[in-house]
């Protein structure tokens, strides 16, 4: 992984985040006028958005956002924070878009408009190597799982009859699994691979992989004011897809291409 502070990128100094305007009017026009698009992400979710050893903000989402900004002819300004804060900031107009591997989900669509998907992420049911009870989603019935509170995985697990607890972040779910406190955790397939890169010795396996992949999109505020922005982003994503940029970035960060629906 190498640093990727491209020319058109501006690493956000978090202490003085410029804010998107809340004033009436078209958001895309405002972004063009400002010359930058404010992108919110957690910065603590490898390999989507995280800090490398030299403390540069990197990841698939980071580079996708930069590429989009380039297409829009503006610079990308990144703001990092906690999940709930990112959502609140998006609603409050502090940030223009959130690029953070967000699943497109009907409930979320009530609050936000999403771009077209730019990645497809299958959900993995992760267990310890010793566990042979769980081989299908149906096997989750009555099992203990833990998932990050803010994710949609909890709902999926609940749907299949698992007993679900929540924790604040991803790492805690692996700790819970390894200490035998839970039977399984649901997470993005890619996240599992990344964790295994850091902990090759960890006795964890993917027990089940969902057939259907979740579609990952970019949420933004609902309504007229973002219509033009959404269209511009969709165009940019389409172009990036055609140019092979998305595939390239996906290979770079995930070791495989998840930018296309398989």
């Amino acid at each position: 992984l190498t640093g990727c502070s491209g020319n058109n990128t501006q690493q956000q100094d978090n202490t003085s985040a410029p804010s998107a305007q809340t004033a009436e009017g078209d958001l895309l026009a405002q972004i063009r006028e400002r010359g930058d698009i404010i992108v919110a992400m957690e910065g603590t979710w490898a390999p989507w958005t995280y800090h490398d050893e030299d403390d540069n903000l990197v990841g698939y989402d980071v580079e996708v956002a930069q590429a989009i900004a380039e297409k829009l002819g503006v610079e990308a300004t990144f703001v990092e924070g906690e999940w709930d804060g990112l959502l609140a900031g998006l609603s409050a107009g502090r940030y223009d878009i959130m690029v953070n591997g967000v699943d497109i989900d009907p409930a979320r669509q009530e609050t936000y408009d999403f771009s077209d998907p730019y990645a497809y992420n299958r959900t993995a049911v992760i267990t310890t190597n010793q566990n042979s009870d769980i081989n299908t989603l149906e096997d989750l019935q009555g099992k203990h799982t833990a998932n990050t509170i803010s994710s949609t995985y909890a709902q999926l697990a609940e749907q299949y009859g698992a007993e679900v607890t929540g924790v604040d972040d991803l790492n805690q779910t692996f700790e819970l699994l390894l200490s035998g406190r839970i039977d399984a955790t649901l997470n993005a397939e890619m996240t599992y691979y990344d964790y295994m890169k850091a902990h090759p010795e960890a006795e964890l396996k993917i027990a089940v992989l969902t057939e259907e992949a979740n579609r990952i999109g970019i949420p933004m505020r609902k309504g007229e004011e973002t219509a033009a922005l959404r269209e511009a982003i969709n165009n940019a994503l389409a172009e990036l897809g055609e140019e092979g940029v998305l595939s390239e970035l996906s290979e770079k960060y995930f070791g495989r291409d998840i930018s296309q629906a398989s």
């Binding site: 409930a107 607890t165 929540g166 406190r181």
Partner: protein, 224 residues
């Protein structure tokens, strides 16, 4: 406010207040009770200047007050299993909150013990009572009266700190709120809602504090 948002808030009120009553409040009350016991012990060994134990108490207070609660939760819940000690979430939370709050309360109680005039202990001796008898029947009751308001404050603050238990899978009020946020994507409104519920709990506790203080003050301030 949109109708949808209103519905979400109404719908979630019951969902949030329920774990508040069944988890946040019990967790707080149980932990605070243990914290008080720990605190009294830690304050007493310092006050009595018991060599060895006093140093243990100082060390305990130093480490616990110096490190974040979240780190303490991590060490107990995610760290101890490495040593083969696996504690369930609720007891783990009770342990950590008791130990943490105990350190702060110990300082409060120590200060209160020191504020009881030395003559009270001496009068106990001269009445033929032992150190422990005098402490239990004369000094501690007076100290607890002095410590009552700051301890009430700590209790009120603790109600909110228990939300950190979400980190070790305890489904308390704040975690439930965050789950609803994960589904509805309305963090601000829901945070305000849970904030108001916390305020409700605190208000009840504050009222209880006032009543308690009145009762303790029934026979005037301990001036003479």
């Amino acid at each position: 406010m949109s109708e949808r948002l209103w519905d979400i808030l109404v719908d979630s009120f019951g969902k949030i207040i329920l774990p508040g009553l069944t988890m946040t409040i019990p967790l707080t009350v149980i932990s605070f009770t243990f914290a008080l016991i720990l605190a009294i012990a830690a304050a007493m060994v310092q006050f009595a200047d018991i060599k060895g134990l006093k140093q243990v108490a100082r060390f305990y207070i130093w480490v616990v007050r110096g490190t974040p609660l979240l780190v303490q939760l991590f060490v107990i819940f995610y760290g101890l299993p490495n040593l083969g000690i696996v504690i369930d979430p609720f007891p783990a939370a009770v342990i950590v909150f008791s130990v943490n709050e105990g350190a702060y309360c110990a300082e409060t109680i120590r200060a209160a013990l020191e504020s009881v005039p030395a003559g009270q202990l001496e009068a106990g001796y001269c009445a033929g009572m032992s150190y422990l008898q005098t402490m239990r029947r004369i000094i501690l009751p007076q100290a607890m009266r002095t410590a009552f308001p700051p301890l009430s404050n700590s209790l009120i603050a603790m109600v909110k700190d228990t939300s950190l238990a979400a980190n070790i899978t305890v489904t308390e009020m704040f975690m439930v709120t965050q789950r609803i946020v994960a589904r509805t994507y309305e963090p601000l409104a829901l945070y305000i809602e849970v904030g108001l519920i916390y305020l409700l709990f605190s208000t009840v506790l504050t009222k209880l504090q006032r009543i308690g203080e009145k009762k303790l003050n029934a026979h005037g301030k301990q001036g003479g």
